[in-house]
Amino acid sequence: MRKVPTPTPLNHALALGSSRKGAGEWWAERLSAIALIPLTIWFAASVIALTGSDHAAFVAWLKTPFATICMILLLIALFHHTALGLQVIIEDYVHSGAKFAAIIATRLGCFALAVAGIVATLRIPFAG
């Protein structure tokens, strides 16, 4: 049986103690950020190079193995980073029960978008 707690200030500050995790997510956010530096610059440069191009030119670009691989890596890193970043923002500002709904929606949404983007990218060289 748990004693009826008399919350002291220290009790309040210590709360439930340390969860002994957090470094993993911190690392994942940095790792995806580092991956995104070259990938997003590649993407931006490609989009500028494609300015004014039609569908055929776009397909010809994305069809190259290098572009397909980079695009898929970009989608994975981008939505991983997005999910982690948005989750931190939600945790910071939302303190009601809506917090969990928002985090679940963000996580699942990012996963779905990443898969949709990858499938669309793969359809161009393999089905198109």
Partner: protein
Amino acid sequence: MMGKEKRLPLIIDSSDQLPSATILKRFPLPRNFGVAPDSRIEEGQVWKAPAGASRTKAFTIYRYDPDSGDNPTLDIFEVDLDDCGPMVLGALIWIKNKVDPTLTFRRSCREGVCGSCAMNIDGTNWLACTREIAETDEAGRIYPLSNMRIVKDLVPDLTHVFAQYAAMEPWLHSKTPAPENERLQSPEERSELDGYYECILCFCCTSGCPSHWWNGDRFLGPAALLQAYRWLADTRDEATGQRLDDLEDPFRLYRCHTILNCTRTCPKGGTPARRSPRSRK
């Protein structure tokens, strides 16, 4: 990047530089934006300078009287500059002695050593005893430390932030039996504590940290984290692993988003943000 001799208003070299170069004095938000009904600030009264005062300056000061049952107010005091000391603390003492004896604030050393008179002056946290009246805005704005439960006027309840400090167990942990003499350190080992031992626990940093505003019950805040690092960096301490494990938490430690308001506001020129327990994995 730029010339070193002249102090440029855009580049801040040390925390004692005035924040005069900011484009805005406060974020463009309604005064009582997101504030709970009983914390909303209402208009207060104006206390005119005594007749015959030739050099006066106005201060807008946050007032709250727990016995009145009223909301906090903003009072305007006109201070006789020829009759009070040069520092903001001098103006507060003058008001208490000459105008309104109920004005309540903490003060002790009046020379930046004790950390008692930390408050929000013109929008940033600083010690009232080391900020000159001449350096304040016209109608200087004086509030208690931000985001604190207020006991009375400029006196915040520091219970929680001190409890967070205590939770860091800020004392030497050692399993080795105490030696005959002192536990020795080399000068290099000792220098690892520079920038961390100076903390006077004024809580300017924690009170100025937006992340502590939003999650102060779970995020330890810069003052406590600086203290944690001070003991991690101490070669004589033998609880490093335990201390790191106790920090390892998405909120306790990782709610620090390197905003660095803490370093900007530290009246002792410390760097509360620079602690590297994160790099351990």
